[in-house]
Point group: C2
Chain length 201, copies 2
Amino acid sequence: MRVVVPVSGSDPKTRLSPVLSPDERREFTEAMLADVLRALDAAGHDPEVVSTAPIDCDAPVTVDDRGLDALVNDLLSAGPLTVVMADLPLVTAETVERLFAPDADVVLAPGLGGGTNAFVCRHPDFRVDYHGASIRDHRRIAAETGADLAEVDSRLLATDIDEPADLAEVLLHGDGAAGEWLADAGFELAFDGGRVGVERE
Amino acid sequence: MRVVVPVSGSDPKTRLSPVLSPDERREFTEAMLADVLRALDAAGHDPEVVSTAPIDCDAPVTVDDRGLDALVNDLLSAGPLTVVMADLPLVTAETVERLFAPDADVVLAPGLGGGTNAFVCRHPDFRVDYHGASIRDHRRIAAETGADLAEVDSRLLATDIDEPADLAEVLLHGDGAAGEWLADAGFELAFDGGRVGVERE
């Protein structure tokens, strides 16, 4: 099974701009990618990275600047495929094993806010559409193609890091490269009575 | 094993005040509680509710207006205990089974933002402290008491509904009383390019 990690290598994680400079966003993106690749490696897979621009990581990189839908659908037309997003630094080898465990044509890992953070596809006709609440579209597309569907109930796969508030999850639970990068950059947890946030020294 | 669902029955879910009136917050709280109780029932448990004020639900209710720590620690001193929060409307019977599956003294289900959304305790000395990033305190307390610890990696258990943005998760994934209540109240998904949010008609 081909395992692909798509990543935006050019101007990544723009929604983190309020707290990270462009260079920092790039470094942090590479740290998160390193955590994802390490988890996939540890679970016995050989991930490939497809990036919109050259990026530093411990896996073969193909540069492809097409949009995510065109890229992934092209890969899907070539055979069974697993896609895991690059901004899931909490993912562990055990989480990866849970993603591969269901014996279903299509396995979806929902993200917070309606995204699809990872999938396994063993059906020739399944295609992706990442716009809007993609998890609902992917459930619908799986049903329309007659693929039997499973979903993985995983907080670690659901937690994509897009916005400043998400950084708290990395500090709370991540013990990999991304957590280390944030700590080195001076981020720490902040408590204001509701959910835990972050502040920077 | 005693299974307790604590709930704030007096002025619940104040962080939803920007989008719900006091009466609506109470109704929505009861809908979420109904979903949690249904999941526990379906998994073969007999949940009890402990509320700070009388509340309408399909389980025995004890009114107790102590703070959460005092209440839960009193229950813990009496023997094995499971606590599941009342604001987890995505929880299913299968999720509940995953919470009970690990053969550990203490099983924790982390919430988004550092909370502890559910736990199973089979150790006489474990106690709770829900202030701040409670998941970290609970990991520490378990270690200090010599309890062996497991964590459940579940998005459905992690998704507590506290803030307006959280309502999107209920509309995206919930097919129970809470999702129905929100739809009846005119909430629907809204797309603005990032994560999916909600809007009200």
